[in-house]
Every structure is written in C-alpha cells, then in structure tokens.
C-alpha cells in the first residue's frame, strides 16, 4: 500500500476544499436555516408531530442526509472529473499507485468534506430545534457510511462524465428526486399504501430511515435492513470502480 501517495492525494484534495472554506461553510448554514424557516416554522407550525417527534426535529436527519449525499457526490465527482477536464489525470495514471490507493485518496477527501457539511448542518439545527440523539454511535456510523458510499458513487459519475453537463445530470435528475422522495421531510407511513410500496424501491429510504432511527429510535424499515442496503450500495460502487480501473474505461485509452 502506497500510503504516501494516498496522503498526497488526500491533502491535495483537501487544499482545494480549504481554499473555498468560507463558501463551503456558509452555504450549508444558509440553506439549512432556510429549510428550518420554511419547513420548521412556517409549515411545521401547522403540523403537530410526526411519530411523536416535533416536525422541526423530525426533518433534521433528512436534511443532514440530503446535504451529505449531494455534497459527497458533488465533491467526489468534481475531484476526479476536474483532472480529466484539465488534463492533469496523466500524472495519476502514470504514478505507481493502484486503483484502491486512488479511490481511498479521492473518496476519503470527498467523504471528509461531506462529513464536515453534515456536522455544520447538525450544529446549525441545534439553534432551531431541541435535538436528542438516542444512539450517537449509530448516528456517527450511518453518517460515515453514507459519506463514503455516496462519495464512491460520485467518483463513478466523475469518471463517467464526459462534460460538465453530464457531471450535473445524474445528481440533478436521479439523486435529488430520490433524496426528496426518500422520506427526508416526511415519514413513509404518511404516504398512501401504493406509494409506500413504491418508496421501498428507493435506496435512499433505507438510509434516511436508519439515520432517523439513530436520532429518535423510530424507523420506516428495520435497522438491519438499512445497514444491509448501505453495505450493498457501497459494495456495488466499489465493484464498479474496480472494474473501471481494471479495464481503464474512460480513463486509459
């Protein structure tokens, strides 16, 4: 294992993040505050409670997940797409590193950024709602797994994308709807039965549900199923990346 190379990639990617730290910090704070004003105060005041939790607090896990997933995808996809776009990818391909080292470096950095954003949102939320976390260890584990798996997914998108439009396409057309329809702002049990069944085909439901369980001890799906779903998604992404590096798909000619 070339640990020095992993560290080099990680530090290089994090430098990019620190260059725009203020923007990285302020943007989630503002958007989260807006969500709380709109959903928590304006709409939430008309909703009593959801599954025994005040609506303002109920949406916190969903909000964190929403941002963490989109940030992880955007950071990881940009991280690997940008060197492809400006041509510096040659250095990575000609370096004495294997696919796992490249992935750990890039995905590790993207997951760190997403984790940072998640923590910022969580901290912001405490200013608006009274938040209790029943299973803190599980909460951290879910957060870490989500950051990692969605960064892996973003990494694949970054390699697949041939231009900036494609880079935005998957997050915009697939991920955002899945996250919004994945129970970020409501409980699946609030939906008509048909839509409940359809929702169980949405992988994000399992993540949001598991994450919400770590806060309130209640979930739409059993916690073990949530864990299995996230593990399966991570394994699938890793397998795809392994295949990409083995064949050189969209990387090596």
């Amino acid at each position: 294992m070339n640990l020095t190379a992993i560290k080099a990639i990680y530090v290089f990617e994090m430098t990019r993040f620190f260059r725009t730290l203020l923007q990285s910090f302020i943007s989630p704070v503002i958007s989260t505050s807006l969500y709380f004003v709109v959903f928590g105060a304006a709409i939430g005041s008309r909703i009593d409670q959801v599954e025994g939790v005040s609506y303002g607090a109920f949406i916190v896990p969903g909000l964190v997940m929403l941002s963490v997933m989109t940030q992880a995808i955007s950071a990881a996809s940009f991280g690997i797409y940008f060197p492809k776009f400006i041509g510096t990818i040659f250095e990575l391909l000609s370096a004495p590193v294997n696919f796992l080292e490249i992935v750990v470096g890039y995905v590790g950095a993207a997951a760190t950024k997403a984790l940072f954003i998640g923590a910022v949102i969580l901290a912001t939320a405490t200013f608006f709602v009274d938040l209790q976390i029943q299973h803190p260890a599980a909460m951290v584990a879910f957060l870490l797994l989500t950051c990692m798996s969605f960064s892996l997914f973003g990494f694949i998108i970054g390699i697949w994308a041939k231009n900036f439009e494609q880079l935005q396409l998957v997050p915009l057309l697939i991920v955002t709807p899945l996250v919004f329809l994945g129970g970020s702002f409501y409980s699946i049990s609030m939906l008509p039965p048909v839509w409940q069944t359809i929702s169980f085909f949405n992988p994000v439901v399992y993540l949001v549900s598991g994450f919400r369980w770590s806060f309130f001890g209640q979930a739409d799906v059993p916690i073990a199923v949530s864990l299995l779903a996230i593990a399966g998604f991570t394994a699938l992404c890793l397998a795809i990346i392994w295949w990409i590096f083995r064949t050189g798909w969209r990387l090596r000619s």
């Binding site: 190379a5 080099a8 530090v11 290089f12 041509g87 040659f90 990575l92 590193v97 294997n98 000619s253």
Partner: protein
C-alpha cells in the same frame, strides 16, 4: 549492461481500429539521450504513453529498469518521470504545492531541500508561492519538468518539450537536459524539431506510421547518410555545363556562376580530385570552393519519403 528501457514487439491498436504502434523494438541504454523523431501522428506520444501507463498496450512487452510495465508497474513507474506535450496543470495551485504533490504521489516522503534544489535549478524558486495561472507559458513548462523530476526518476520522458516555446527558452531547456544527463538521468525526447535532436541527442530513433525505421548514433547516422555539397564558384559565368563534364552529375546555378556537386561522404571515392582536374582541363577558372554537410532534417525527410514510396 542490460538496457534501462527494453521494448519488444510493442503494439497498440486503438478502439477505432487505428494501429498506432506496429511491433516496436527499442533498447535504450542508461545515461543516454535518445531523440525519437517522427512526423505528426507517427506514434511518438503513443509509445511514451504506453511506457508510462497512460495507454494500455495491445501486444508485446516493455521493461523499465528490468520491471515489466504491466506486472511490475509500481517499480517501473517509480523510475519514470514524464513531461507531457500539453501543459496540464491545476491553475489555482501554488507551484511548490503541486511539485510536493507529485513527489508524494510517487511514494516519496517529503523532502523540502530536494524540492528547493529542483526549483532553483529550473529558476522557479522565486515563483514557488505563485499560483500556476499567474505564470508565463515557459514557466509552466518548467513546472511540468519540476513535477517530473521531483521524485528522482532514472528515466525521463520529454514529449515535445519545446513545442511552441521561444528560442531562448528552448536553449534553456537544452541546458537543463544536458545538466540532467550529467546527473545520470536517461532521457527520451520526442520532437519534430530536427535541430533539437541534432543539438542534444546521443542517438536518434526515427519512427513513422507506428514503426521504428532506424536507431543509430547521431554522429554515425550523419556520417552514413549524410551527403556533402561542393559549390564551385567560377571566375567567369558560363551558359551551360561543358560537354566534357556532363558525366559528373553537376548542376549549374541560374546565374551561371556556380557549379554544384553532391557526393556521399561515406563513399570510398568522392570524385572530387577527378572533378577538379577535369574542370581545369576544360579551362574553367575557379574563384572559390565551399562544402556543406546535409543536416539531420534532410536525412529525416529522405527516410520518411523513402518509406512512403
């Protein structure tokens, strides 16, 4: 001693069916400067990219320092530095950080003293805290060289290092290359500036349409294939080459004042003595004699033309 780069039957067929390399065999000795000459699209960049791991070969083998480029890619690539043809650098990064990144990427622990030495050698030390986008084109090329050298490679590939740079920078580059050779680095340089190969290379390899046409010491190549031209300036202009000299393959310039005789330097008899004798017998008075050697460029053009025929 085993060659530091040993290529055997290397071929590359791209997905669209284009065969960029057709069974290339090439052995590069440690410490030499080899210039890989060829017209655009000849396969120069594909050959370098394949050795560096950017392009996957379709057949054949290649070893760098005894390590197979595929099965021993870590060891092979750790020995290689690559300066690509395109100036590809992260625009917002600082010079020193991008160089440190390259060193780390190649698995070498941080060594600020070594990086300082490289940056000073390349006149980049004063610019170390500048962002790449603030640098001139020539400076950016130097950064690429610094990045390629910062992990102490034993083999350096320079892909068209002076394409599009001004004369002054080109000469600077040649000095840098010479300095590197003295420090024991093997250099493989692709270029289509023949002047460049002529100025700095020890050996020349000519590649065209994915095949190596020849590999030879520069001096030997120029002696073997070089032709010389003897220009004989006459005291009085003449209208035509005299009949007595018609066998000698002479050309007369348009003004009638100079006779031009071309001969092979490698030939046993150049025919000069006989020619001068016959000129004298024909009553022509010579005012001056001048010989010029054909350049590598002419040799190269001849080779590529011959192949096209």
């Amino acid at each position: 001693m085993a060659p530091i780069v040993d290529i055997q039957g290397l071929s590359k067929v791209y997905d669209d069916g284009f065969q960029a390399l057709k069974g290339v065999d090439l052995a590069i000795e440690e410490g030499e400067i080899l210039a890989l000459l060829g017209p655009n699209g000849a396969g120069k960049t594909t050959l370098i990219s394949t050795l560096c791991g950017i392009t996957v070969p379709s057949g054949g083998t290649a070893r760098v320092g005894g390590h197979d480029i595929q099965t021993g890619f870590r060891e092979a690539r750790a020995m290689i530095g690559l300066v690509p043809q395109e100036v590809a650098l992260e625009p917002f990064e600082k010079v020193i950080k991008t160089v440190r990144f390259s060193r780390g990427l190649f698995g070498k622990s941080r060594d600020d003293a070594f990086i300082e030495k490289i940056l000073k050698q390349l006149s980049l030390w004063d610019k170390r805290d500048n962002q790449i986008k603030e640098l001139s084109g020539g400076m950016k090329r130097r950064v690429l060289i610094a990045k390629a050298l910062c992990h102490e490679p034993r083999v350096l590939f320079l892909d068209e290092p002076t394409a599009g740079v001004d004369v002054e920078l080109r000469r600077d580059m040649w000095e840098i290359v010479e300095g590197l050779r003295q420090s024991g680095v093997t250099i493989i340089l692709t270029t289509h500036y023949i002047e460049e190969a002529e100025a700095i290379a020890d050996r020349i390899a000519v590649i065209n349409k994915g095949e190596i046409l020849l590999v030879e010491k520069k001096a030997d190549l120029m002696t073997r294939m070089g032709r010389k031209t003897l220009r004989i300036e006459l005291a009085e202009p003449i209208d035509a080459v005299p009949d007595a000299l018609s066998d000698d393959d002479l050309e007369l310039t348009a003004d009638g004042g100079t006779l031009v005789y071309t001969y092979e330097t490698s030939a046993q008899r150049t025919g000069i003595t006989r020619l001068l004798q016959r000129l004298s017998e024909a009553g022509l008075v010579m005012r001056d004699l001048q010989t010029t050697q054909s350049s590598l460029e002419e040799i190269f053009v001849d080779l590529v033309k011959e192949e096209a025929v």
